[in-house]
């Protein structure tokens, strides 16, 4: 089958068995790959209501048809599981080289259930599968574990693995690959840790067939031209030169980035002169040593830095992404590059999501500033606004799950507030997930995504998105929200990078057809996107989650903390945005797909039966 290896691996860690199943053309055509295919399989294989850490719980590592085909931007793979944070669906994707490497090792996806009696890793070598003792790497940080695996299996090895945070089941634990790439959000690293599974290690040289290799080459040339001459040429050049942090200073000033745990404004609390040293252009000028490209990426938005430091080894630090800059910068009124890089490195080493880590430390910072905790309760760390040293110290406690405050914070801000019995008024979470560095009061289209995507709190899911709507006019948002959702669902399912989707626009549909040969019509393409969204949401519906269960923090959407600047007095009519979206995609206002919609998009007869009998 073009665009696919055609095989999925299922491993049971409880009894040490595995089986290979065919990925049928029907399933591939209906769900493509990535989170959509992952949701289909987990919905089929897992019972509703199961414990995310139980034997019946599964974790999946799912590629998309673009992986390993040389198609531009085709380097991303997705980790799927039940989220121990939300109790619902979780998918998070990551770049680097693991996705294409998994395909070279002979599988489109790996699904793991059960719990190993002691720490193990799965080794897949050109199709052959082995469950190995992980004693040598359990407890090790990401780079240290990878070093052992490289020594054992050679430089062709790639791995998806957890750090100590995942082993200790931090709810912010990520699944890492290539040293610093993260499938970060929603706690899948904790699920992996609950299975005593340290890593999925892959090695191989198998190839993915495409209908017409020359067509892939020609399309890449078209995309390259679009990058240089199309409407997003400046965008492509900007992130290519300086990564996602190229926008950092703008975002601090405009209200896009959060300032002072969402209570401040850039123009007053974090002005241009404070923000500029942490922006990527300034960082690159002083510290960049080389760029980094994910697999098949012509942009190369990554980089490595050498930051002189007397306290830390930052000689080969991955350049922090925009989200990380915001979280450990404007969010806590810090502008210390050393501290930023150290916090980024800590999250990479121990395997945590930088957004939730930074969001949790910032929440605690505001609590402390407002007198909710004594210095003693802070274990002697004066976590005041702008105190970079304290920020690093508290982050160290969190990532190491240090006994006491550290292990509490490692469960995230909402769980920490519940455990400590204070600070709920300062939380900024969507269904328990710390919100990212794009304030939806500036870009209201993000509100629907943060609240009602099957994986709440994510800025990378599709919809009306970052369309700055300063008029706050909520009429007619349904159709563009639907169109944005469809495009991003397919981007993620295909194994493509969202920056590539933004740059190549309508060429994405052509790319999907070129690597698969499925030749989707525009109507089929639209149904594919909606089916993907529906499949992910079906998982939540089976858990009993209805519209009322998707929550946002009072802080941003009801009580709007007093501050000046661009967002002063802004309230987002988030339920109107949701109504518009659900109407546009043929869902009921209760947030469930209508029976007629399920019949129309097809492939979900079991979901329709579950909902309507």
């Amino acid at each position: 089958m073009n665009g696919y290896i055609g095989k999925m691996l299922f491993v049971n860690l409880s009894d040490g068995t595995h089986e290979v199943r065919e990925l049928s053309e029907e399933m591939a055509r209906n769900f493509l790959g990535g989170p959509a295919l992952g949701a289909r399989v987990l919905f089929d294989e897992m019972p509703g209501g199961c414990d995310p850490y139980g034997e019946d719980s599964m974790i999946g590592f799912v590629t998309g048809p673009a992986n390993g085909t040389r198609a531009f931007f085709g380097g991303r793979y997705t980790v799927v599981s039940k989220s121990p944070v939300t109790g619902g669906w979780n998918d998070a994707n990551s770049g680097g080289f693991f996705g294409p490497s998994l395909r070279k090792a002979g599988y489109d996806a790996v699904f793991v259930k059960g719990i190993a009696k002691k720490p193990v890793y799965i080794f897949i070598d050109n199709g052959k599968v082995e469950i190995c003792d992980a004693a040598e790497i359990w407890g090790k940080t990401i780079l240290a574990a990878e070093e052992v695996l490289f020594e054992k299996y050679g430089k062709q090895m790639n791995a998806a693995l957890i750090g100590p945070a995942g082993e200790r089941k931090s709810l912010m634990a990520a699944v890492m690959n290539d040293g610093h790439r993260a499938a970060g959000r929603g706690g899948s690293g904790a699920v992996m840790g609950s299975k005593n599974l340290k890593a999925v290690v892959v090695r191989g040289d198998q190839k993915v067939d495409v209908p017409d290799a020359a067509a892939v080459t020609e399309l890449n040339k078209t995309i390259a031209k679009e990058m240089k001459e199309g409407p997003r040429a400046a965008y492509a050049a900007g992130i290519g030169a300086h990564g996602t942090g190229v926008t950092y200073v703008n975002s601090c000033l405009s209200g896009d980035a959060s300032v002072k745990n969402w209570s401040g404004s850039g123009v007053t609390d974090y002005p241009e002169e404070m923000a500029t040293p942490l922006g990527s252009p300034a960082i690159d000028e002083k510290y960049m040593v080389k760029k980094y490209h994910c697999s098949a990426c012509p942009v190369g938005c990554g980089a490595f830095l050498n930051v002189p430091s007397e306290k830390y080894d930052l000689s080969h630090s991955p350049r922090p992404e925009y989200e990380t800059q915001g979280m450990f910068g404007s969010q806590m009124l810090c502008n210390d590059v050393e501290a930023l890089c150290r916090c980024n490195d800590l999250c990479n080493e121990y395997g945590l999501d930088t957004i939730s880590t930074g969001g949790t430390v910032a929440w605690l910072m505001e609590c402390y500033e407002n007198g909710l905790f004594t210095l003693d309760e802070m274990e002697g760390i004066p976590l005041n606004w702008g105190n970079a040293e304290a920020m690093v110290a508290m982050t160290e406690k969190l990532v190491t799950c240090a006994p006491g405050l550290g292990e509490i914070l490692a469960m995230g801000s909402r769980a920490a507030a519940d455990k400590l019995g204070r600070g709920h008024e300062y939380l900024v979470v969507a269904s328990g997930i710390e919100e990212p560095q794009h304030d939806s009061r500036l870009a209201p289209g993000l509100t629907r995504i943060y609240q009602y995507d099957p994986t709440p709190g994510r800025h990378v899911k599709g919809g009306y998105g970052i369309n700055f709507n300063f008029e706050h006019n909520y009429e007619g948002t349904g159709e563009p929200d639907k169109a944005g959702m469809i495009g991003r669902e397919i981007c993620n399912a295909a194994g493509l990078c969202m920056f590539g989707q933004i740059i190549m626009g309508a060429l994405q549909a052509e790319l999907v057809n070129t690597v698969t040969g499925f030749n989707y019509t525009p109507e089929e393409y639209a149904k594919l996107g909606i089916r993907s969204f529906a499949m992910r949401q079906a998982f939540n519906l089976r858990e009993g989650m209805t519209r009322k269960d998707y929550t946002l923090s009072e802080r941003l959407y009801k009580s709007n903390p007093p501050h000046d600047g661009p967002l002063a007095g802004v309230h987002v009519d988030h339920e109107k945005l949701a109504d518009n979206f659900f109407d546009a995609i043929g869902w009921g206002r209760d947030g469930a797909p209508a029976k007629e919609t399920l019949a129309d998009i097809g492939g979900l007869d079991d979901v329709s039966k579950m909902l309507y009998g």
């Binding site: 900007g238 996602t244 405009s254 209200g255 938005c301 925009y322 600047g565 661009p566």
Partner: protein, 80 residues
């Protein structure tokens, strides 16, 4: 009157300077005049999609300017 303009965006990065504009000029008029003198342009639609700050406060493109105002135009982008 004289107003000071600064543009922060990927395509108009590092453009900053002063412009002599007629009394009663709006932000949009001042922006167009200044950019034309630099051989650059920013469409009305792109301007309306930008964040415009005058003296650090958010305003719309039809805001009337005063002598000495500091105008910053921030182009919005999607990032990671």
């Amino acid at each position: 009157m004289t107003v000071h303009l600064k543009f922060r965006s990927m395509d108009l990065e590092a453009m900053t300077g002063a412009a002599d504009v007629p009394n009663g000029a709006t932000v949009e008029q001042a922006v167009n005049q200044y950019l034309a003198a630099q051989g650059a342009e920013l469409s009305g639609e792109n301007l309306r999609q930008s964040m415009i700050l005058v003296n650090r406060m958010a305003v719309r493109a039809d805001q009337v300017l005063q002598d000495g105002d500091e105008v910053m135009v921030l182009r919005s982008v999607e990032a990671g």
